[in-house]
Symmetry: C2
Subunit: 335 residues, 2 copies
């Protein structure tokens, strides 16, 4: 067995506001050979996700904060290139959560085998992975979506939003989406079957919602927070449900941002705001895989990927999440 | 049949900020005798409720706004003193929602007969009426309270909060309450069986919650909004539920008030914020009456009333809701 050199992305300094290249450093490490029960994984794709911004703050949350000087945790898919375990022979493919590394040595029990014959390897990080399942459980579990409802998805061109909108459409709902460019808006309507989409950078959010859903919203799938959440509350129908999934507009705030001025409208309207992260609904995983993989096969669900090549691009890919650089899932390709 | 003179409270001008005497006027009217199928009701008690403040704004909400120059709608209980209907003979007692009047003529189908032998007449406006049922459905339906949970009730000395806290205690929960004076705090602990209560005007809300519930809150029953809601969110346990019932701290705001800075904590913690008004859960009425009247008989539930005498006192009684003048249900006694 030869020495194996890998590179990895470390948190160099906690970002203040928008993350910049200098918050990260790419370091070279020499991997030990896998011991008994271990394997060496060479990652093909790394997942770049908005939620990681939250872990760059030094504060308690549902996931522990990243440590300065340490590799950033994150999802990846890769191939076993050395194996000291019968469970995962060389040539197997696995999904992992051990960070932004080109390669790593791991016990096999933290790895989940995936089949690149069933679906493209990258899709296990997106439409069939954490973001896809987030869309699925957000609609069915957090928002308790019913057929025929009117659903607004913010950040609708992202990995989560684009699937959420398509699932709602498949389930017979009227679907509105917001995105940050005219091209994305056209894509939502022309390619993904949204009933109405708009560029949130132009015009008044509430007016756009009124145009797209004159009778109001039954469900708001919130990926953005801030002004999007406030406008949605103003336009909810009685007993509407808001699935609080993310608040990307606020992730780089340097001061706490006040909440919506109209939260008390929830009282009279009987609104329900349900916060969630995907792991709260792990019991729905089988349903999610069955339904979404079926819809992909039938051509009912399309998914986009924005792929940057090389681990050096990881910081730029991450920063790009907050400037709208991605359509669909943001990935870094390593092999 | 003789002429019947009644007085009634009208909205003279919409309040700006805190309501003042001059926003109201007491006017004398002469009632027509009841026609076929009608009765003349002399009210014994009028209900004075915080939600009425919302109806003094000229805006769409779950109840239509009060009209300037017109009588204020509101709950009352009274006695039939003239009857032109077999359904409600003279001497019957009825609950109504026709406003702050000493007496009125009405079709019988808008009136609900009540029995002063079963419970004191005034209790139909409080612990066995709308505020009582609000407490009941807020815990069981909106917050889905379970035995053994930790429950924080704000405005806990009010008509809704004082019952909510006692129900939670009866159901084996640990109960915290906030109130606006040391006397009320002592009353909550000594007389109503709260496990911990504090004066929200003294010290730091979050610190008090940490003292009273070191392991966090499962349920927050919000009657106050504003800083109370924010502090509660900071202290919620994973999968906590917040029943948004009222926001009395904000009812007299002249400018929209920003929401809590920490609403996005709902995401990672899986918090549910459920807005409600009592009418959303009308199906629970029979359970409510059975349970609460049973608890009163068993001595498990106590209730307070703050009673002002004479219709001229109605504006002062109403303003007093916002300055903490009441313990328990605020009423105006007319007979």
């Amino acid at each position: 067995m030869t020495e194996f050199i890998s590179r990895e992305v470390r948190l160099k300094a906690r970002p203040t506001g928008m993350p910049v290249e200098n918050n990260f450093e790419v370091a070279e490490v020499t991997l030990d050979p896998p011991r008994e029960g271990q394997v060496l994984v060479r990652n093909h794709y790394m997942s770049v996700d908005p939620y990681m911004r939250g872990r760059m703050y030094d504060r308690k949350s549902y996931a522990p904060p990243f440590q300065v000087g340490r590799v950033l945790d994150g999802g990846a898919v890769g191939e076993i290139v050395e194996s000291n375990s019968d469970a995962l022979p060389v040539g197997s493919f696995v999904q992992s959560g051990q960070g932004w590394r080109e390669a790593f040595v791991s016990d096999v029990d933290t790895l989940v085998q995936v089949d690149p014959q069933l679906a493209p390897l990258s899709s296990y990080l997106g439409v069939l992975g954490m973001p896809g399942m987030t869309a699925y459980v957000g609609l069915f579990n957090a928002a308790e979506m019913k057929e025929g409802e009117t659903v607004f998805v913010s950040g609708a061109a992202g990995a989560v939003g684009s699937l959420a909108g398509q699932i709602a459409r498949i389930k017979g709902c009227r679907v509105l989406g917001s995105a940050g460019s005219d091209d994305k808006v056209a894509h939502l309507v022309d390619d993904l079957g949204f009933d109405y989409a708009f560029n949130y950078k132009e015009g008044n959010l509430l007016q756009r919602l009124q145009e797209g859903a004159p009778d109001g919203l039954d469900i708001y799938f919130d990926n953005v927070g801030a002004d999007h959440l406030e406008a949605a509350i103003f336009h909810m129908r009685p007993f509407g449900r808001l699935a609080l999934c993310g608040a990307i507009a606020t992730y780089n705030d340097t001061e706490p941002r006040p909440g919506p001025i109209n939260l008390s409208m929830a009282i009279g309207l009987g609104l329900r705001l349900q916060g969630f992260v995907v792991s709260h609904y792990n019991h729905a995983r089988d349903d999610f895989i069955r339904d979404v993989s079926g819809w992909i096969k039938e051509g009912q669900v399309k998914y986009d990927e924005t792929i940057l090549a090389g681990i050096d691009q990881a910081p730029a890919a991450f920063a790009g999440l907050f400037t709208g650089a991605n359509t669909g899932k943001m990935l870094v390709k390593l092999v």
